[in-house]
């Protein structure tokens, strides 16, 4: 049934504040949690963080008291929502285990978005970075086994394969080659806009997480791996944020942010298996509808625009869904493993001239070796690298293990 958030009442923003006890939620059990409940928690935390940081940026570009107060109020509630969502992560889930969850999000969210993306160029952008995040899961899985003897499948539950993607050390590109063309805001499919906003928020949160947790390690190999992959996440944020059309106004962006949050909480609600967490998604959905109403009122008042002119008549019928994407990833690996970028174009590696800045950049950052390779070398020296190849041998012969798999 069509769900139009503009026709829903939701919870008025003034009624949305919660007490500390309500925010101090009971975490999920990391041994029992559905891996895709964990990924939903990680994604929605990132969505709230993006909403908060956008609101702060907007607030820094206006001294309109009414707008600043409305932004401050909505942001306070967003902060509470973020605490309630992020607080679902248990304290006994280590940062590395959470990292494996982040990379499972990166793989299965990106793949799902790519599979449902109507715009071929945006799908290409998703596919391109997907193979890179897929590789990160493999590198961190090996770090997990190396440091703790842990098996990544205990986190991923075999729903996402663990094996090399586009190798992390080849992902390092000159910054110029991460900038992409953007969609056109008048002509973009509303679903595409939400896909891009969602992936920007997700990748940005991953970047922030690695930026903050990378220095918490004693082991040099862990510090190095986090530093290296954090730099790829910076590339990914650059890559994805380029896809957004800069033509939209501050208020339009506010409305789009709120609308996307409505879509995502509605999506999480459709698929959640944990009743207690499902109730949080439902509550937050109704809160976001209230927040969307405030942004829409601001659009009517300050921009003289009816939000209904700008927004689709209803949410997409298909919710954003976490589910296995194994065949999709494998096909992509087989077809695009050697893809690189040259300016705003995607090209095959052998199309890059020898003096391309890609090679200069590679030589600079990989001088002395890449931690992402060192962790695999160390794993091999320690009894064999970790993989979880549930669907058979790796589709690229060169990326098959030198020693037996140990999943």
């Amino acid at each position: 049934m069509a769900f139009n958030p503009l026709e829903q009442k939701g919870i008025p923003v003034d009624d949305q504040l919660r007490s500390w006890s309500e925010l101090n939620v009971e975490p999920y059990d990391k041994e029992a949690v559905d891996p895709y409940t964990r990924t939903r928690v990680i994604l929605m935390n990132g969505i709230e963080v993006e909403s908060i940081m956008f609101s702060h940026q907007f607030a820094r570009h206006t001294d309109n008291l009414d707008l600043k107060r409305k932004l401050a109020m909505g942001r306070r509630v967003d902060q509470q929502q973020q605490k309630a969502v992020n607080g679902l992560n248990p304290g006994d889930q280590t940062p590395l285990e959470t990292t494996l969850g982040y990379e499972q999000v990166a793989v299965d969210l990106t793949a799902w978005l790519a599979r449902h993306e109507p715009d071929p160029q945006l799908k290409m952008a998703l596919d391109f970075a997907l193979l890179e995040d897929f590789d990160h899961l493999y590198r961190y899985a090996n770090l997990y086994e190396l440091l703790y003897g842990g098996r990544a499948a205990a986190i991923t539950d075999h729903l996402t394969e663990v094996m090399p993607g586009r190798p992390t050390f080849v992902e390092h590109r000159h910054p110029y080659d991460d900038v992409r063309p953007h969609y056109e805001t008048h002509t973009v499919d509303p679903l595409s806009r939400m896909h891009v906003m969602t992936i920007v928020a997700g990748e940005q949160q991953t970047m922030n997480f690695y930026m903050n947790h990378g220095a918490e390690w004693v082991e040099p190999i862990a510090r190095g791996l986090y530093a290296e992959i954090a730099m790829i996440e910076e590339q990914h944020v650059t890559h994805y944020e380029s896809l957004l059309d800069p033509l939209d106004s501050w208020i339009a962006n506010w409305v789009f942010h709120e609308y996307n949050e409505v879509y995502l909480y509605w999506s999480m609600l459709q698929n959640e298996t944990d009743k207690r967490i499902k109730a949080i998604w439902e509550l937050h959905l109704n809160m976001e509808i209230g927040q969307l109403a405030v942004a829409c009122d601001a659009m009517r008042h300050y921009e003289g625009r009816d939000p209904a002119e700008l927004l689709p008549p209803s949410l997409p019928e298909t919710p954003v869904t976490f589910e296995p994407n194994k065949d999709y990833v494998r096909e992509l690996l087989a077809a695009t493993i050697d893809l690189r970028t040259d300016g705003i174009q995607y090209v095959e590696l052998d199309e890059l001239p020898e003096d391309h800045r890609y090679f200069t950049y590679q030589k600079t950052v990989n001088a002395g070796g890449a931690p992402s390779e060192m962790v695999i070398d160390a794993a091999r020296d320690n009894g064999g690298e970790y993989r979880d190849e549930t669907e058979g041998a790796h589709p690229i012969a060169d990326l098959r293990p030198r020693t037996e798999t140990t999943s």
Binding site: D63, N64, P118, P120, H186, T187, P190, R300, G304
Partner: protein, 231 residues
């Protein structure tokens, strides 16, 4: 009802540029652009872009007036903004019909229209994003400034279209242009003239009248009191 915000749902189409990617489903094909006004002696693709640009400007204008009519504290200005807003919305319709009559697509958003939309958005934002550091009398002037700047370009656009129409050979194309110009240009004369004159009057009144200063201060006090009641 004219389209004030072209979107994928209304059938908006555009062309790619260095940094603009367009979904093939929403692409204005080069052949279609070339076919526009073919055999008329006009540079069809350029005129298509120009009319789209003009349309974007009228759409921004309609939004500007809708916004200002809600936010001005001056009943006289509100009435005029509402009146001009209605006429500007009609101008959107006139342009859509003109483009349609000429065989074009009113849902086409040209690169020039994008630039104009950016300018229009900035002009509108200038009337409210800094409202906290601008006194009430100046806020009214800032709104009027926005109208003047918008109407200056609008007036120039229609004047230019009138000149273009005059140079066309007699026939359906010239008639279409001329009819649109005849309907809109007199109103644009009035809009631009009113904005320039009213702005000048407001500036003169404030510059030369001690009473205006007192009224302004009193208005500030009243608004401040009302805001405190509402807090």
């Amino acid at each position: 009802m004219p389209i004030l915000t072209p979107t994928a749902a209304t059938g908006a189409r555009t062309v790619p540029a260095e940094m603009t990617y367009v979904n093939p489903a929403n692409l204005m094909p080069p052949d279609e652009a070339k076919a526009f006004l073919a055999d008329t002696g006009l540079n069809g693709p350029f005129v298509a872009d120009l009319l789209s640009d003009m349309l974007a400007h009228e759409r921004c204008g309609a939004q500007l007036y809708r916004s200002l009519a809600q936010r001005t504290n001056n009943p006289m200005l509100r009435k005029q903004y509402e009146h001009f807003g209605t006429e500007t919305t009609e101008h959107v319709e006139v342009l859509e019909n003109l483009i349609d009559q000429l065989g074009g697509d009113p849902n086409y958003v040209s690169p020039a229209a994008r630039a104009t939309t950016k300018a229009g958005t900035g002009l509108l934002e200038s009337t409210f994003l800094l409202a906290g550091s601008i006194d009430l009398m100046t806020q009214e002037l800032v709104m009027l400034d926005a109208v003047l700047v918008a109407e200056a370009k609008d007036h120039a656009n229609w004047g230019c279209l009138a000149a273009l129409a005059e140079g066309l050979p007699e026939g359906d194309v010239q008639d279409a242009f001329t009819n649109a110009v005849n309907r809109v240009l007199p109103q644009e004369d009035e809009h631009f003239g009113w904005a320039a004159e009213t702005r000048c009057k407001m500036i003169s009144a404030q510059a030369t009248s001690r009473a205006a200063q007192v009224v302004g201060e009193a208005a500030e006090t009243v608004v401040s009191r009302v805001k405190k009641w509402l807090d």
